[in-house]
Symmetry: C2
Subunit: 259 residues, 2 copies
């Protein structure tokens, strides 16, 4: 099983603290030795780092930890390969452009028969089930909406329907973003936490690091972190239910839709 | 004017030496302070780094210089903005997927009226002329070839025709790759150099660095470097002619087509 990490914030925020926890699971406190990747949005721009090497030993991971890239939406993934060999083309998150926006996708789980689903607009570059699922989903969204629908809720409903269809094929925990929203779909395991004033201290589960967010933030900051398993021991994470899609905007949950 | 750097090689090769020369031009020996980017192919996978900060001061540029990423095709660009503000979404190289391959594009120059050209399959994320030209070109290739043509020469001819059309709109020096070939189109200024056995010493123009490639290579290595201006003082660079498209594969020129 792979691990996911996402962030939605109302101000550009670095993800160093959470990322450090996640990276430990890549070959140190966890078995996810088959590469990792992270995408940071800056406005409509998207900056991604991918490495097929284990994150706990990755030179690029150390850069991302040291060099506090600030972003309002982040999607990250560390991989324990089950389908598709370990190589750059198979390293999440995957990205495609739709409606002049970069869409980014990371998946934890396995899907049975997903490669029978037709892709047309978007084609996989690597050989993973995950990228095929992403290409199918984005092809369907594009087919239904040649242009971005005016009401965001119209799009969210479409995303949820497609996520549900894919969820029927196996385990499908997913983080997705279109540079405006962060979508988190829980098939078996996903949790989230919103930090806002009054901020307190947080203790990582996977590394010996305590942060006092009061010292790191301003009173108006709102930051939501989404992760496969809670990353901190002393905060109240929301454990998502199977079949639930949560949509985050500017650090807050915009919509929680259960099946 | 921006500067371009590309590489095509028959074995995975690092570009540290040439990249170091280029980076000096980003705010130190050159005026290109408005960001830089580099894309490395690894098989079908593509790893890109973008930074809106000047390359001579960039933390990420230092990582790329230190951490010798080996690749057979590289496309890089440092920017002196003329159209489109300085931000991540406007930082070359731009990337899109076509036929399950990542296409990467970097442009030096300015185009007049390019935004009147229709884009349909691919839409710009940022606001540069360059990305619009890329989206138009890729939309036209896709329209003409829903699947990759069997003979590479068929594709090369199409690429040349589209490059020529864009070249009529202004200055259009371009590096393009589809993960198999490196395309270099010269509108006003572009040069290339193939290094192969017997290897000699090379002296960077922009930094105090001499490399003896005999010590860095094996006898079968073939590496072509493409750059706006020659990067070394003591090697015989080929200066391309206006209207010329050169296609490189495995380090060698596969086709040089003049208008």
């Amino acid at each position: 099983m792979c691990e996911l990490l996402g962030m939605s914030a109302n101000v550009p925020t670095d993800i160093c603290f959470s990322f450090t926890g996640l990276m430990q699971r890549g070959g140190k406190t966890g078995p996810h030795r088959d590469g990792w990747g992270i995408a940071f949005y800056e406005g409509r721009g998207c900056r991604a780092f991918h490495d097929p090497a284990p994150s706990a030993e990755s030179e690029i991971a150390r850069l991302v930890q040291r060099y506090a890239i600030k972003s309002r939406i982040v999607v990250s993934h560390i991989r324990q390969a089950n389908r598709g060999r370990v190589c750059l083309a198979n390293t999440h998150p995957f990205a495609r452009e739709l409606w002049g926006r970069t869409w980014v996708f990371a998946h934890n789980g396995q899907l049975k028969g997903v490669k029978r689903l037709p892709v047309d607009f978007y084609h996989p570059i690597g050989t993973t089930d995950s990228e095929h699922a992403f290409c199918w989903m984005l092809s369907r969204i594009r087919e239904r909406f040649p242009q971005s629908p005016r009401r965001p809720q119209t799009l969210w409903r479409c995303v949820r329907e497609l996520m549900e269809q894919l969820g029927e094929l196996g385990i499908f925990n997913v983080l997705l973003s279109d540079s405006r929203y962060l979508y988190a779909y829980c098939s078996t395991q996903l949790s989230w936490l919103t930090r806002r004033a009054p901020f307190g201290r947080a203790q990582l589960v996977d590394a010996d690091w305590v942060v006092d967010f009061q010292e790191e933030t301003t009173p108006g900051d709102i930051v939501t972190v989404v992760a496969t398993y809670p990353l901190t021991a002393n905060e109240a994470w929301v454990i998502m239910r199977p079949g639930e899609l949560a949509v985050f905007a500017d650090g807050l949950i915009a919509s929680g839709i259960e099946r």
